[in-house]
């Protein structure tokens, strides 16, 4: 074993890391399978993959090849291009036909895809990826390292305007991807970043690998990608159809299905009815609101996995009344978090504690390390008084999306006894996210914003809580999503040290320190982390239960 592998062994043996945490960190840092096996064996565990299994009944029987799998998802409502896509419909449409270097399993353990191995340098500010050999593009041409370099050069180019820029900001700049040889590519990072493989996985959904001569806007013509299915037809508000890729690198046995169809729907209820009626097999990303009928349907299996999907209840720390930390804390203490979890999501969420280290991330602080905040109206009133206020009048600006309007109602009701008089302003999503210099989600004095799941704490924190992510007054710095406009240099320093640290014990200490600051300062209330739901008909097997906006249908089959 090398030093890091031995370090992991020590952490696991001492019980400071769980098996799942070990797997996540080991695969993130490129620990080889033999070494991982040895570590787990020494700790008394097995190294079998924690892929999370598939939907359908537990007694699946032998794999049945062939047939067509049908997915129901919300429409991308626009043409799909992997470089600029940013909604679930587009992402899933792409993921059936295209590949990433690595791909997470339901427990966020990174699995090899177009990369077979990855290793950090002595400091994790350089990462070397070994590229899978013998892979063909769907048109039969060979996949090479040049394609990988071109793909990342493309999405790190500010002129292209990819959403990936927000993930790579401060980590990977344009032109820093080096072809070492025909099998190896090296990423030269702007700073040490121990979770870099997450940024080349589907958690950075634009980091799809495309041909080096790919022309933007041509993906939906079909036949582009190295993935298990070839896109044949696409209609932005109707659906897409795919056939099995006979040249797929996964071997002659994969994928199991002969074809896949995606049906696009405008809203959740028709998808619920469609899966109940059997006209679709999978509803990959199920929002709790509006899908309750699925939980009691005997023909449908709904899997539930913890995730890092959450909502911010953000307060502009640079504006009254939120300049005062006591006022922000008062609001945080006014909320009944278990009540929110039950009322909004039927209990299908984990409690949040006003810091961005989601429970699913390895090494996230526990409630023993950062005490869980609970509702305390008396304390809330006391905090307001200490700020020199007896009541606060504010407008809560948010979006019409999933459970968020109800969340806003709950906040209004729960905060009233503490002295908060809240007026609600619920806007359509397009208006809430806005354009140019008018983007309410970044400008509102008090708001709620939805955040999709990310793979590691850094991906959640960097675009939303660092000083560098505070939006400029004219909002010209794309990818700066710090909607609370909060800047704490000590927090920044701790996070950057955390991201560059390989020692798991030190990472934990840094995480606790950073989380404590964020919990104390509470620029955003983070009241819950949503458990992701995926619904499959009982005859569907082999489809991973999550992460739910990542679609991997290679091993899916239907009984």
């Amino acid at each position: 074993m090398n030093d890091y592998e031995y370090h992991l062994y020590e952490e696991a043996k001492s019980g400071r890391m769980s098996r799942q945490q070990l797997l996540v960190r080991a695969t993130m840092m490129g620990v080889s399978l033999p070494a991982l096996t040895a570590i787990l064996a020494a700790c008394g565990s097995s190294s079998s993959s924690s892929s999370g299994g598939g939907g359908g009944s537990s007694s699946a029987g032998a794999v049945k090849r062939g047939g067509t799998g049908v997915f129901g998802i919300t429409s991308p409502a626009q043409d799909v291009d992997p470089i600029t896509m940013f909604n679930t419909g587009s992402i899933m449409t792409t993921q059936l036909a295209a590949d990433y270097l690595v791909f997470p399993d339901p427990n966020y353990v990174m699995q090899p895809r177009l990369a077979t191995k990855w290793l950090p340098g002595a400091k994790p500010d350089e990462w070397t990826f070994t590229i899978r050999q013998g892979v063909l593009w769907q048109d039969g041409s060979p996949f090479t390292v040049d394609d990988v370099v071109a793909s990342f050069d493309r999405i790190t180019d500010p002129k292209v305007g990819s959403a990936a820029l927000s993930a790579f900001a401060g980590v990977l700049s344009n032109g820093k991807i080096e072809k070492v040889d025909d099998q190896t590519v090296k990423f030269h990072l702007d700073r040490p970043y121990g979770d870099f493989p997450t940024l080349v996985s589907s958690f950075n959904y634009n980091s799809v690998i495309l041909p080096k001569d790919y022309k933007e806007g041509t993906f939906t013509k079909g036949g582009i990608g190295t993935g298990p299915f070839i896109l044949k037809t696409f209609s932005a508000d109707q659906g897409a159809s795919y056939v099995k890729n006979p040249k797929y690198w996964g071997g002659p046995t994969l994928p199991y299905l002969d074809a896949v169809q995606i049906k696009y729907f405008a809203d959740t209820p028709p998808i619920v009815l469609a899966i109940q009626g059997g006209s679709i097999d999978v509803f990959p990303q199920v929002p709790y609101q509006g899908s309750q009928a699925l939980f009691s349907d005997a023909n449908i299996h709904v899997s539930e996995t913890p995730s890092s999907e959450y909502r911010t209840l953000q307060m502009r720390v640079d504006q009254d009344p939120w300049k005062s930390k006591e006022v922000r804390q008062a609001l945080a203490y006014a909320l009944d978090r278990p009540g929110l979890v039950q009322g909004l999501l039927g209990g299908k969420a984990e409690l949040g504690n006003d810091h961005a280290f989601a429970p699913i991330y390895p090494g996230s602080p526990t409630s023993a390390e950062v005490p869980q905040r609970a509702q305390d109206i008396a304390k809330a009133k006391q905090l307001l008084q200490s700020a020199g206020m007896s009541s606060v009048n504010v407008t809560l600006t948010t979006e019409q999306f999933l459970e968020i309007p109800q969340y806003a109602q709950y906040v209004k009701q729960m905060a009233a006894p503490a002295g908060f008089n809240i007026t609600l302003d619920v806007q359509p999503q397009t208006k809430f996210y806005g354009t140019g210099a008018n983007q309410p989600w970044l400008q509102a004095n008090f708001g709620i914003t939805d955040w999709g799941a990310r793979g590691v704490a850094g991906q959640t924190i960097d675009p939303a809580y660092l000083c560098s992510s505070v939006p400029k007054p004219d909002l010209s710095n794309a990818g700066a999503w710090n909607s609370a406009h909060w800047c704490d240099p000590q927090f920044d320093s701790l996070v950057k040290q955390f991201e560059g640290e390989a020692d798991e014990g030190k990472r934990k200490t840094l995480a606790v320190q950073a989380a404590t600051i964020q919990n104390e300062e509470v620029p955003d209330v983070i009241a819950y982390w949503i458990n992701e739901l995926r619904a499959t008909r009982n005859n569907v097997h082999g489809l991973a239960v999550g992460p739910t906006f990542h679609l991997d249908a290679r091993e899916m089959w239907k009984a």
Binding site: G161, L165, T220, A236, K263, G277
Partner: protein, 314 residues
């Protein structure tokens, strides 16, 4: 009659021009920014400005309207910057789908509504009249979404007699019936009560008129009195009401199209409005306006044919 038709045509054209400018102007002030919607929230403002310039959305409103109207007449409707497909075939295809659903729905709704209305009138004040009236009013009060969900759950999910989602049927009558019956049911609930009430009112009025009394006193059989004298006059307001509903059936079925995933023009218009896809939104809405005008024109002509007093008065 010729003069009447020409006059109606002229008024329709003037209306069309006014509607086209209203649609164009209203669409230009919808919230959102085309280039921003296409490029996503992370593109720089410079890129957004460049695309807006390329799409011509930074030109003066009147100049853009004249260009757009000219292109519309020539059949050059451009390409959707959101969907990345030519607009004309997309809009016409969706319009065709909506016309198919509307046609099927009308084939069910009009005869049933008229029959119920006439029955109610013929049994004025009686049990049949009360049942038909109250039932019709109750059904009108039920939202399309509720009825649609109900029929899907019963007939598609539990009984499996019909598909959960409706696609555009082929020419096979069985397929037409299977694909279009369920989405037509919520429409029947909404419209039958309303149209049957109009038919009832018209029929009651006709039954009480002098010419009906004369026909009865002349000894004509009741069937002949109703069929030849009463219906011809009583259906005039019904024809007008039905023509107004045609526009709703073609372009207003967003809820039904969403629930049944039917690829109609209503949903296309909604998506285009939300995503600020002006090249799709404007011609699609204009086509609905044209359908409205055509339906009203046909209704006006029919009324004039059935009632000579109308065309002579103009």
């Amino acid at each position: 009659m010729g003069r009447y038709i020409l006059k109606r045509l002229g008024l329709s054209l003037i209306t069309l021009v006014i509607v086209s400018f209203t649609v164009f102007a209203a669409a230009e002030v919808l919230p959102g920014d085309v280039a921003r919607t296409v490029l996503g929230p992370y593109a720089s403002q410079q890129q957004v400005d460049q695309l807006n310039h390329k799409l011509g959305t930074d030109q003066p409103l009147v100049k853009r309207y004249l260009t757009w109207a000219g292109d519309f007449i020539k059949g050059d409707w451009g390409t959707s910057p959101i969907l990345n497909v030519p607009v004309r075939p997309l809009v016409l295809d969706r319009l065709k789908n909506s016309l198919i659903l509307a046609g099927f729905a009308l084939l069910l709704i009009v005869p049933i509504s008229v029959l119920l209305g006439v029955l109610a009138a013929l049994n004025y004040g009686g049990a049949a009249d009360r049942i038909i009236t109250i039932t019709g009013l109750s059904f009108v009060a039920l939202p399309e979404f509720v009825v649609g969900t109900f029929v899907i759950v019963i007939f598609a999910v539990h009984l499996g007699w019909f598909p959960v989602s409706s696609s555009v049927p082929d020419a096979n009558p069985v397929d037409i019936f299977q694909q279009l019956l369920l989405p037509s049911i919520p429409l029947m609930f909404v419209l039958c009560g309303y149209i049957s009430r109009m038919a009832r009112v018209g029929t009651v009025e006709s039954l009480r008129s002098n010419y009906t009394r004369t026909a009865v006193l002349k000894g004509l059989p009741r069937r002949q009195v109703v069929g030849r004298h009463v219906l011809r006059n009583s259906l005039l307001p019904t024809i007008t009401v039905v023509s107004v509903q045609v526009g709703y059936l073609v372009g207003g079925l967003v809820v039904v199209e969403t629930l049944f995933s039917y690829p109609g023009i209503g949903q296309l218009i909604l998506n285009a409005a939300v995503s600020h896809d002006l090249p799709v939104l404007e011609p699609a809405v204009l086509m609905i306006a044209i359908i409205y005008l055509v339906a009203n024109f046909i209704a006006d002509v029919l009324v004039a044919v059935l009632n000579p007093r109308v065309r002579l008065a103009t």
